[in-house]
Symmetry: C2
Subunit: 316 residues, 2 copies
């Protein structure tokens, strides 16, 4: 349910006249994503995706769009924003901020193997290395301040056990020395549905609208929590090792990152437990978001907190 705004063929055709991509041949809404309206746009010249921003503020968009352009320019398979004839990425369509991006090939895979995870490790390292020279900054909107505020708001809805888990975890997270960890631009949402597979290779990494500056290791942890766990939340050490080792070969971990790894894995799990708790207990009026099960991330967090598997998978 992610086409919130309808666009007619004639409206689209007229809008495309400001681009150098030929004439509209097909326009089709995409039933995925939770924040924006997305469309496949096929023209006489190529294949693109149109995004209308339903909830992201216009002022926030240059950080994301220029980041995608920057990473594409470094040879990474990310959606590249398409410039209009005035050399601008950001336009307006149906009264909303709108951007046309290149369409990447491939499909997401919900049951990744160790080989998939090794490829994801290479890609994540490449995103981090390519992002080092990106000049714009955006602090993590799901950082420490958000964590504390959201925890306060959802605590009343939790069982005693979950409340204890959450409070212990907040105490632990307050003690981590972030400054010791290498910082950079992170994707912050590199879940399985945001990677497109073209055979055995990654054809594309999509959805950069959570990207921000934070510890690179946090991005690794978010990725491992989604790609390398079993349905019960247990870490699959083989997949985690494959991802971490291929990452490490391309962007070597520091000793401080090795020390922080178990706690950062927990921080990454906590971030998604909290946002899911918020979506579940405190849904915003009129929002069409599919509510994901908060318990999935509570389980991942609890298992990280009680098992030593995580540290064993780390390559240094």
């Amino acid at each position: 349910m992610s086409v919130f705004t309808a666009i007619s063929d004639s409206t689209m055709q007229a809008w495309l006249a400001d681009y150098a991509v030929g004439k509209l041949e097909n326009l089709q809404g995409i039933e995925a994503g939770v924040q924006n309206s997305n469309f496949f746009v096929t023209t006489s010249l190529g294949r693109y995706v149109l995004t209308l921003f339903e909830s992201v503020a216009r002022a926030d968009l240059p950080f994301y769009l220029n980041l995608m352009a920057h990473l594409a320019r470094h040879g990474l398979p990310v959606p590249a924003p398409v410039s209009n004839r005035s050399n601008e990425y950001l336009g307006t369509l149906a009264g909303k901020p709108a951007v046309l991006v290149t369409r990447l090939s491939g499909h997401s895979d919900t049951a990744p193997s160790s080989e998939h995870c090794a490829r994801v490790g290479v890609m994540l390292a490449a995103l981090h290395l390519g992002g080092l020279s990106y000049k714009r900054k955006q602090s993590n909107p799901r950082g420490a301040h958000w964590r504390e505020q959201t925890a306060t708001r959802v605590l009343p809805y939790l069982s005693n056990d979950d409340r204890a888990l959450l409070e212990d975890e907040l105490t632990l997270q307050r003690q981590i020395d972030r400054a010791a960890l290498p910082q950079g631009v992170i994707h912050a949402d590199l879940f399985r549905d945001n990677v497109l597979w073209d055979g055995a290779h990654i054809g594309g990494v999509i959805d950069f609208y959570f990207a921000c500056n934070d510890a690179l290791l946090l991005d690794v942890a978010i990725t491992v929590n989604d790609w390398c766990t079993w349905p019960n939340g247990t870490l699959d050490t083989a997949r985690a090792q494959a991802l971490l080792e291929s990452y490490h070969t391309n962007r070597p971990f520091t000793p401080a990152e090795a020390d922080a790894w178990p706690a950062i894995l927990r921080r990454a799990a906590l971030r998604f437990w909290l946002s899911r708790l918020e979506d579940f207990h405190l849904p915003r009026a009129g929002e069409l978001v599919t509510v994901k099960n908060p318990a999935e991330y509570r389980d991942i967090l609890q298992l990280h907190a009680t098992q030593a598997r995580a540290a064993k998978a780390f390559p240094i």
Copy 2:
């Protein structure tokens, strides 16, 4: 014979450390092209092409590389230069200027249909429209000055008939009012081997190292002369119409262009007749260029000069 400089795997691997594209998996020389050394580069992240410039001056490269980047940013399927970690496109490898570009999919087709030609018309119009906002300028090194000089140098080698044809043609070309024709960035070499087909669609347009500023119509004429002629040099009106009409739909021709069309087709044919005569009669020492038959373009020129087919194919 276009790998003039050998590059070892270890040299390449070391060079790639300054890029965010993963580790080298395969390096393979490409046996095509006449000016540079080209290699397919496969990494753990994706597929690229490395070009070492053997004869283009380093100072001339920013025009070409930034043009390719500009067109890619406008959504066109052209090789996009890949930035290194210092955000630079142009590097140095084996002592030569070197650039890594994205590898496009598809293969060239030497027997194009009217459908192919219609797609090429769309693409050429898109290249011209996308190029309108490109700020750097480069005058055509195969323009009027080169034409006169080269004609003087090759005239002594020609038969009486060919000499008369060339002299008449030079006289005609001196009379064309260039200022009346819309100007812009042109590819200037959009031959069949520079378009890659991915099924029925164009997967890529390559080889921008003749690109320059000149009359857009000259680019259309160069393209029609290669894509829409029979082996004996006769224009195939059906293919020419398909190409011209699809171009016109995207970048409408002006009345001045309609008037100039027959003469510009002859100018485009003359340019390749002259360069092939030069390569044939006055080869430069040490050059490994495959000499193409000059008579092919003399025939095209002569038929344009004596037949009215060209004007009939023009859409306005």
